[in-house]
C-alpha cells in the first residue's frame, strides 16, 4: 500500500516539494496551452518577439504521432503528482521524482539544442518550459539534500 510509506515531513523538507509542485503546475499550464494550440490546428502569426510558429510547425513538434506538447503536459502532470505526494510525506514519490526530473532536463536540453541549432528559432513558451525544468531540478536537488540530512 502507498499509505504504508506515508510519514509527516518536517517543514524544511516539505517546502522544496511544495515549490516544486507549484513549478510543475506552471509547466503543466504552459504545456496544456501549447497542446491546445497544436490540437486546435491554429497557425500563429510571426511576431517581432517570438519564433513559436517555426518551432510549433517544425517536424520536431510531433513524436510518434503525439504532439510533443502533450508529452510535456504528461511529464509535468507526473512531476506535479509526485511532488504533491512527496510534500504530503510519501517518500517513494520523492525518490521517483528524481529520475523523472533528470529525464525532463535532458529532453529540455535536447529541445533547446533543436531550437538553437536546427530550427534556428526560439519559442518563448518552449523556453519557459526549459526554464521551469531547470528550476525543478534545482528544487528537487535541494529537497533531496534536506531529506538526507
Amino acid at each position: 500500500m502507498v499509505s504504508a510509506a506515508h510519514t509527516d515531513l518536517p517543514v524544511k523538507t516539505k517546502w522544496p516539494y511544495v515549490t516544486a509542485a507549484l513549478l510543475s503546475l506552471v509547466g503543466l499550464t504552459d504545456a496544456v496551452y501549447l497542446t491546445i494550440q497544436h490540437l486546435a490546428g491554429q497557425s500563429v502569426p510571426c511576431s517581432v518577439t517570438a519564433g513559436c510558429e517555426e518551432v510549433l510547425t517544425s517536424p520536431y513538434a510531433v513524436v510518434a504521432g503525439i504532439p510533443l506538447a502533450a508529452l510535456g503536459a504528461a511529464a509535468y502532470f507526473s512531476a506535479f503528482s509526485l511532488t504533491t505526494l512527496a510534500a504530503f510525506g510519501y517518500r517513494i514519490a520523492g525518490i521517483l521524482l528524481r529520475p523523472l526530473v533528470a529525464v525532463m532536463v535532458l529532453v529540455s536540453l535536447y529541445l533547446f539544442y533543436l531550437q538553437a541549432v536546427v530550427i534556428r528559432a526560439f519559442c518563448q513558451f518552449c523556453l519557459l518550459s526549459a526554464a521551469i525544468t531547470i528550476a525543478l531540478l534545482i528544487v528537487v536537488l535541494v529537497a533531496w539534500k534536506k531529506g538526507s540530512q
Binding site: S43, C46, S81, A121
Partner: protein, 237 residues
C-alpha cells in the same frame, strides 16, 4: 483525510487540465468554422473578429510594389516577412484573390522582415533588388514558393542568384543591388510605415486601410470581406 488530500488535489488538476484541452480545442475549432463561413450563417458562440479602424501611417517605400489598377475599389496591403511560414501560406491566397478579382483589386506588398528571422533581410533584399530590374513579383513568388529550400540552406546567396537567373535579370547588377543603400532604404521605409501603423507581426494585412485580423485571412473569409467591400463601393457610387 490528510492521506487522501494529495490524491484529491492530483485528480482535480488532472480534471482541469483535460477539461481545458477538450473545451478549448472544441471552442477554437468551432470559432474557426465560423470564420471560414465568412457570413451571417450559423450560430456564433464566440464573437467574430472584425476589421480594425482605418489607419494611414507613414508613406513607406516609393514607388511601392503593387498589382492591379491604382483606382481599384478594394485595396489590400500586406506587410510580410519572406521567412515567416504563415506569410508563405498567405502567398497563394493573395495570388488567388488577384486572379479572382482582377482589376477590382489593388495589392501592395510591404517589407517587414522580423529581427528574429536571420534570413528575412537577405530575402527582402533579394526581392527588392529584383524589383529594381522590374521583376519584384516574380522574385517575390519564387522566394515564397521555395521558402523551405533557402530557409535552412547553409549559404543562401547562390540560391537567390539562381532565382535571379531563372527570371532573366542581370545577376551581377542583382548582386550589387542586394547590398545597395537604395534597397536598404526601401526596406527601412516599409518598416517605418509598418511601425507607424502598429504592425507587430506578419502577415499583417490591411483591407482599404483597415487591419484584417489574422484569423480572417483564410481564402474563403478574405473573399467574403473583399466582396463586402466591393458591394459597399458599389452602393456608394
Amino acid at each position: 483525510m490528510k492521506r487522501i488530500l494529495p490524491f484529491i488535489i492530483i485528480l482535480v488538476v488532472l480534471g482541469v487540465a483535460i477539461g481545458s484541452v477538450v473545451y478549448m480545442t472544441q471552442t477554437k475549432s468551432a470559432s474557426n468554422e465560423n470564420v471560414n463561413q465568412a457570413g451571417p450563417v450559423g450560430p456564433k458562440p464566440t464573437p467574430a473578429p472584425t476589421l480594425g479602424p482605418v489607419k494611414t501611417g507613414d508613406p513607406g517605400a516609393d514607388p511601392p510594389h503593387t498589382m492591379g489598377p491604382a483606382n481599384a475599389p478594394v485595396r489590400i496591403e500586406e506587410f510580410g516577412d519572406f521567412e515567416c511560414p504563415p506569410c508563405g501560406g498567405f502567398h497563394p491566397i493573395l495570388k488567388q484573390m488577384h486572379e479572382e478579382f482582377g482589376d477590382k483589386l489593388h495589392i501592395t506588398f510591404r517589407e517587414f522582415p522580423l529581427a528574429n528571422h536571420e534570413r528575412a533581410i537577405p530575402a527582402a533584399s533579394a526581392a527588392e533588388a529584383a524589383g529594381l530590374q522590374g521583376k519584384f513579383w516574380e522574385m517575390h513568388a519564387l522566394i515564397f514558393e521555395h521558402q523551405n529550400e533557402w530557409k535552412l540552406a547553409f549559404d543562401i546567396q547562390p540560391i537567390f542568384e539562381r532565382y535571379a537567373r531563372s527570371i532573366g535579370i542581370d545577376v551581377e547588377r542583382f548582386k550589387r543591388d542586394m547590398n545597395s543603400d537604395r534597397v536598404e532604404q526601401r526596406i527601412f521605409l516599409d518598416g517605418k510605415r509598418a511601425r507607424s501603423m502598429g504592425v507587430g507581426s506578419t502577415p499583417t494585412v490591411f483591407l482599404n486601410n483597415r487591419e484584417v485580423p489574422f484569423q480572417m485571412l483564410p481564402a474563403d473569409t478574405l473573399r467574403g470581406l473583399i466582396q463586402k467591400e466591393l458591394q459597399a463601393a458599389g452602393t456608394q457610387k
